[in-house]
Every structure is written in structure tokens, then in C-alpha cells.
């Protein structure tokens, strides 16, 4: 017996995380903009973080573009224990 889920389930979790990431990023930018502290230093850090995030998105996409997302991901399989527990 085995328990499997499709691999694309992980993509849903990843997209939920992306929403959280976007929310907190907007809150950070809002703090900087609303407090009037948009200086060259805060702009440089915002640009750095934004550029790194875009770089990460690009590489994530480039590495995962050929993945077959419908293949099953095995969460549990009794055969894992067949060598330990005698049937």
C-alpha cells in the first residue's frame, strides 16, 4: 500500500508562500514610503532585494520548466518497512 500525491501539489504550497512573500515585501516598501525614508540607502537595499528576488524567480522557473508535474510523489509506502518488519 502506498500514499501518493501529484507533484504539482508542491507548486500550490510554493504559490501560497509567494503570496506571503509578496505581502510582507509590500508591507516593507509601504513602511519606507509612508515614513518618508525613501533615500538613496533605502532605495539601494530595496533594489538589491528586488533584483535578488527576480534573479531567484528566473532561476527557479528555468530549472523547473521541463519537470513533469503530474508524476506522483510517494509520501508513504509499506515496502519501505518490508525489510524491517517481517510480514
Amino acid at each position: 500500500m502506498s500514499i501518493t500525491i501529484p507533484l504539482y501539489s508542491l507548486l500550490f504550497l510554493y504559490f501560497i508562500f509567494l503570496l506571503i512573500f509578496a505581502f510582507f515585501s509590500v508591507v516593507n516598501v509601504y513602511h519606507i514610503a509612508s515614513s518618508g525614508t525613501l533615500t538613496s540607502a533605502s532605495f539601494a537595499i530595496t533594489f538589491l532585494v528586488g533584483a535578488l528576488a527576480i534573479f531567484t524567480f528566473y532561476f527557479t522557473f528555468a530549472l523547473l520548466v521541463d519537470v513533469r508535474w503530474t508524476q506522483p510523489l510517494i509520501l508513504f509506502d509499506t515496502s519501505w518497512f518490508s525489510n524491517i518488519l517481517p510480514v
Binding site: L7, L10, L11, Y14, F17, L18, F21, F24, S25, V27, N28, H31, I32, S34, S35, G36, T37, T39, A41, S42, I45, T46, V49, L52, A53, T56, F57, F59, T60, L63, L64, V67, R68, W69, Q71, L73
Partner: protein, 189 residues
């Protein structure tokens, strides 16, 4: 930046100093960020030599890539939130008062005001190797009331700021002679 972003500016009030913590106090966060950025590289090298099949597996590879992406985005967020916390901690000294803006995390900000004429003691503390070498430290402002005090933390050239605060407080005290009499009467009673 303008004072009106935080408090209502009085008509006769102008900003004398706007202080932030010394940039060197943010360096530990930068170093931690760099170390955290390098961790996946080390993990990749170890995995490549110990479990190379994980990096080529049709299921394990996308899981590792998604986890790596999650990890990197998390540390960007951590770094950015720490920067905002550092950058929005601010002390504004005007010719009338000292305003302490304390950003605690993303959803908590505390703003404290202290009238210059109420200041009784100004103390500077430069303690440790780095504060001594890079000339930064704390300025402690105390009033007659034990509850009202502001600590200006890790600002550059604290002795210069202390001297200017004493001059400003003295000037403001002359301006608020009437208020001072009322304050002393309240404290006496």
C-alpha cells in the same frame, strides 16, 4: 524625510538633528545574510558528492529547487525586514523636543516625545571596542520624572550631540520660563 510624517510640527519648530544608529551596527545582519546565502552552495557541493542521485531524480530535483527558492526568498525577506527595522529607528531633535521613533518589527511602532526644557541630565555611554574605534554610543536623556527618559542608541559622535542637546535645552528652558515654574510647582506639591 519630513517631521510631519511622524508628528504634528509646531509653527516655530525646526529640525536640528535626525539621528540613526551607526551603519556599522547593521553589519552583523549583513554578515549573517551573506553566510545564509552561502549555506545552499555548501549543501549543494556536499549533496553532489555524497548523494548525486538526489540532484538528478525526477521527483527529488524539483523538490530541492522549490525548497532552495523558498529558502532564498525567506532570507531576502528576513534581511529586508531587518533593514526596515534598523532604518526606521530614528531620533529627531528639534529646537523644541526630542522625538524617539522606535520601529519594533513590521507591525509595531512606538513614538515618544520629550520636551527639551524638561531635560535635566544628558549622559553619553561609549562602551566597548567597536563603539570606541568607530565613535558611536548611547545618549541617555533623563528628566525630573523617573518615567520620562529617552535612550538614543548607538548614534555617531554622541559627545557632539550631547553638547548640542545641552545648548538646545538651555535655550528652550529660557523660552519656557512660565512652563518651568508650573512644572516645579507641580513637582513640589
Amino acid at each position: 524625510m519630513h517631521l510631519s510624517h511622524f508628528v504634528r510640527q509646531k509653527s516655530y519648530e525646526h529640525v536640528e538633528h535626525m539621528l540613526r544608529r551607526h551603519p556599522i551596527t547593521f553589519i552583523p545582519t549583513v554578515l549573517l545574510f551573506v553566510v545564509l546565502m552561502l549555506v545552499p552552495v555548501a549543501v549543494y557541493i556536499m549533496t553532489d558528492s555524497l548523494f548525486p542521485e538526489l540532484l538528478s531524480g525526477s521527483v527529488s530535483f524539483p523538490i530541492l529547487v522549490l525548497f532552495g527558492s523558498f529558502y532564498y526568498l525567506s532570507i531576502y525577506l528576513f534581511f529586508y525586514a531587518h533593514f526596515v527595522d534598523y532604518y526606521l529607528d530614528l531620533w529627531i531633535i528639534t529646537n523644541d523636543r526630542v522625538i524617539d521613533i522606535d520601529q519594533r518589527g513590521l507591525f509595531n511602532r512606538v513614538i515618544t516625545e520629550l520636551d527639551l526644557f524638561r531635560i535635566q541630565d544628558v549622559t553619553t555611554v561609549v562602551k566597548g571596542f567597536f563603539p570606541t574605534v568607530f565613535k558611536y554610543g548611547n545618549i541617555i536623556l533623563t528628566t525630573a520624572s523617573s518615567t520620562n527618559s529617552i535612550i538614543i542608541e548607538n548614534v555617531p559622535h554622541p559627545d557632539t550631540v550631547r553638547h548640542e542637546l545641552i545648548v538646545l535645552a538651555e535655550t528652550d528652558r529660557k523660552y519656557h520660563v512660565g512652563d518651568m515654574k508650573k512644572l516645579n510647582a507641580t513637582l513640589d506639591s
